[in-house]
């Protein structure tokens, strides 16, 4: 009989460097066989998760990463490192042109742009809207300029399945209402005649899902406490028993060592402790 793994009790037990691996597993578990998953360039954790899912339960998952379709077996160097030589034609298929993103509007074609899309932002709100445009000051004017909506707006509106991913868990990131809307959440989508909304919000401390278009706690990671997560969220989360996020399984740990043999996940941009209070 194999040794039984016991989920650790709440408390700061996971070494912070393992948070990236845990989140990789959390994301991988959401990806289904046969889907097309898309994300931007600076997204090694999401790429690792997609490669992990391919190894474990989704051999037919297609990975759309920036301008290419990834076919490698291990996490390649971050898009813009000096390790240029390790990218090869054998494992990468380029999109003919960037405007292939417009194909997101037809969800049914075998050449569709994507099924699953990950969205981040400067702010994410209670109903799952995301903002990459800017932050308003007290006078209502934009006082902090954000990067711009990048590829999020249309894909985040039209993709079949949207998952929010945040590299920090703070009251400045998770707010009651976003100052500007790059991607609409549940209520705004309903008002615009669009069905559904984002399914999850994954953070370094917790996994949140939606009930009646409002965010609630699905699970708290083992290295965080429910109290801390509630304090670091800029809106009330409904009460109720909260599970601990299942830790990586032995199969996931083994597959991760193949996907990330060089420990690149240790260096991804992620506030492992949730970020500034």
């Amino acid at each position: 009989m194999s040794e039984k793994r016991v989920a650790p009790a709440s408390g700061p037990t996971t070494p912070p460097r393992d948070v990236a691996r845990l989140l990789t597993c959390v994301v991988a578990r959401e990806l289904r066989d046969g889907e097309v998953v898309a994300f931007g360039l600076n997204a090694e954790l999401l790429l690792a998760a997609a490669l992990l899912a391919q190894r474990l339960h989704a051999p037919n998952l297609r990975i759309r990463h920036g301008l290419r379709i990834e076919r490698g077996h291990e996490l390649s160097p971050s898009a813009w490192t000096e390790e240029r030589a390790s990218r090869s034609h054998e494992v990468i298929e380029y999109l003919e042109a960037h405007d292939a993103i417009l194909d997101v509007a037809n969800r049914s074609s075998p050449m569709r742009f994507c099924d699953v899309f990950f969205v981040g932002g400067m702010q994410i709100d209670r109903e799952g809207s995301a903002n990459l445009i800017g932050i308003r000051g007290k006078d209502g004017r934009m006082t902090i300029r954000g990067p711009g909506s990048i590829g999020t707006t249309s894909i985040g509106t039209l993709a079949r399945h949207v998952i929010l991913f945040s590299d920090e868990h703070t009251t400045r990131r998770l707010v009651e209402t976003v100052d500007y809307v790059s991607v609409p959440g549940w209520r705004r989508r309903a008002a615009a005649g669009l069905e559904g909304g984002p399914s999850l919000c994954i953070t370094p401390l917790a996994v949140l899902d939606f009930a009646d278009g409002r965010m609630r706690l699905r699970s708290v990671h083992a290295h965080a406490t429910e109290e801390d997560v509630r304090r670091r969220t800029g809106f009330p989360l409904p009460p109720g028993p909260v599970r601990t996020t299942p830790p990586p399984t032995p199969a996931e740990v083994e597959a991760l060592s193949v996907v990330d043999p060089k420990g690149r996940l240790d260096t991804v941009d992620l506030c492992r402790d949730g970020g500034p209070r």
Partner: protein, 302 residues
Amino acid sequence: MTARAERVLSLKETAALVRDGMIVGLSGFSYQNPPMAIVRAIARRGVKNLTLVSGPTSGLETDLLIGAGCVRRVVTAGVVFERVAAVAPAFRRAAERGDLDVWECDECIWHLALKAAAWGMPHVLWRGGVGTSLPELNSDLKEVMEEGRRYLKVPPVQPDVVFLHAAEADPFGNVRVAREAYLGRTFSESALALACRGPVVATVERIVTNAEVAGSPERTIVRGALVVETPWGAHPGGVSGRYVPDLPHYREYAAAGAASLRGDPVPYARYLESHVYGTEGHDAYRRSIGAQRLDALRTSRA
């Protein structure tokens, strides 16, 4: 029989195509293939009130022209340096001070605005972006009802002139990508060229013969361009299949820009002085960076 006309010009001649108030298209994607040599030449001319159509997500080519005071408005889905800076510094500063108008769009809407221009359409209807802040932030991007559904009415965006940087071209203006691609092959060159009302200028790493280009037509991405041979013309950006971005240079630029945001304009002014105004032309710029540093950026397969 008269000879076929060559379309080879100098950097100075093509920079002179840009005049105050023009709509200027700049190709590139993040760190990849930005037409930096021509951008520095435009900045040296000191033109004002440009509208830049760059991206769809743009980088240093856009930020440098903003920082040099040449830009009034940008049409782009974002100005970012990936991991080096989440928001490009001159873009952020100018937008926060109210010195820059931003046409808020995402990458799909950026492409659609160019397609509307290329196709001669008064607008294109698009369902992405309904329920967002984009219509509220852009007076010309209205939400409309069509057959019971809401759409954004995306207007055409038509550049007066387009600049791009690529691996090679022949003297007749056939521009092509490198055989060995790195992080992508094309970077919205044809999307901008097809929407453009005026000249398309390609700075290229080297000019090759028409016979070479004709030998592998699938590599040709733009035809009818004006061509300028400009080795290292994307530096500090990379060129797919030729060299990778000079990330330490980006970090130097980002640090200078961050100082401006904190209220210290000296490092950024110093950057412009040493890399833009203080170098007379592109050859002087290359010498200032140094052959050894540039050679170290070459992709190993090239």
